[in-house]
């Protein structure tokens, strides 16, 4: 299993037409890597290229080109690559093999790890702030409803949670008042978003609110978070004997 840290990335350049005992060469090499337990490999098909023979191979030529470039890439530990290299050189024939030092930030996993990384926003408790944003339902941001865009923006910024409420009546900064018939112009589309997170997180989000909300009211108040439970964490925890 590949571990995070130093590793080697191997790239093998082949021609699409190359065969090995009647089978396409790339599939022979892929099989070889598979059965030798390499963590993963990818075959990429080029659209044009040239190799040692300096013949241009391109897919747009009238004649059907069967010699397009093929690239096989895989990443493994230095020891494993050294063990495979001899056989690979033999299989690649005239093709080029390139190696480069690389760093594995996160290896691929078969299944999600049992202990999921707890997102930063799930660790809030105690003193926090509530941010309420009063806007109009008709407000838009880049072709989508503003309240939807704000929810997406908050999600992208790991704000702990947000709920959108639709008012049945209202007026405010986001609605111009009709002087003689005050209630007529106010009948539709007051929307309130209510988000809770630490003061720092919400303040850090404010510049985005500045950009996105052309008209409206943003209200901050201090709150205490009594409980913040995250269901995905609970389901991974051992289940109690009875409900």
């Amino acid at each position: 299993m590949l571990q995070p840290g130093q590793a080697v990335k191997v790239t093998i350049y082949l021609s699409d037409g190359a065969t090995h005992h009647g089978a396409p060469l790339y599939s022979t090499i892929l099989d070889f890597l598979f059965y030798r337990g390499v963590a993963g490999a990818t075959v990429l098909k080029g659209v044009a290229g040239f190799g040692a023979d300096h013949h241009m191979h391109a897919s747009h030529l009238i004649e059907i080109s069967d010699r397009l470039p093929i690239k096989i890439e895989f990443i493994e530990s230095r020891e494993k690559v050294d063990a495979l290299l001899g056989k690979l050189e033999e299989l690649a024939g005239t093709g080029l093999i390139e190696m480069q030092e690389t760093t594995v930030a996160k290896p691929a996993q078969l299944t999600k790890s049992k202990q999921p990384l707890t997102p930063a926003h799930l660790k809030i408790e105690g003193k926090a702030q509530m941010m309420r944003i009063f806007i109009s339902e008709e407000d838009r941001w880049k072709s989508k409803p503003l309240h939807e865009a704000l929810v997406e923006a908050m999600r992208a910024n790991d704000i702990a949670g947000v709920t959108v409420y639709r008012g049945i009546l209202g007026y405010g900064a986001h609605r111009r008042l009709h002087k003689d018939k005050p209630l007529v112009s106010t009948h539709h589309g007051s929307v309130m978003l209510s988000a809770v997170d630490t003061a720092e997180k919400l303040r850090a989000f404010l510049p985005l609110v500045d950009q996105m909300v052309p008209e409206g009211l943003v209200v901050f108040s201090d709150v205490d978070i009594i409980k913040y439970a995250y269901r995905a964490l609970e389901t991974n925890a051992p289940k109690p004997a009875q409900e």
Binding site: G167, G170, M192, E215, L217, V218, S221
Partner: protein, 118 residues
């Protein structure tokens, strides 16, 4: 345009069936807010709840009940809110008024000729 100030947030809870004279209470309170020039007032209808009388407010399609819980959020400076509260005392016969001090940022779109024509 952006302005920032400290304000009061009032949340008033009552039922949708509550009335003030000949109209729904929330419309009456909203009209009062308009009259007093309150900055922001929004009425929300809840899907279920109960209040001081412990009757369950529920908006159900089956019973055609019109007594869903109503929550109004009203925001303005302390002085303006103070001018509203005496009216609330007489208007809200049964309900709950919660107040908190909040920090407010108000965004106002610069008036353009097109916007005023709207």
């Amino acid at each position: 345009m952006k302005e920032q100030f400290t304000a009061r947030l009032l949340r008033i809870h009552f039922g949708e069936a509550d009335r003030w004279h000949d109209k729904p209470l929330y419309e009456a309170i909203l009209a009062k807010c308009v009259e007093l020039g309150i900055a922001e007032a929004v009425v929300f209808r809840g899907i279920e709840g109960y209040g001081p009388s412990t009757r369950i407010h529920r908006s159900s399609h089956w019973s055609f009940s019109k007594d869903a819980p109503i929550q109004m959020s009203i925001i303005d400076t302390e002085e303006r809110i103070a001018r509203l509260t005496p009216f609330l005392d007489s208007m809200v016969e049964e309900g709950l008024v919660a107040a908190s001090t909040v920090e407010v940022i108000r965004y106002v779109r610069a008036e353009t000729p097109a916007a005023t024509a709207e």
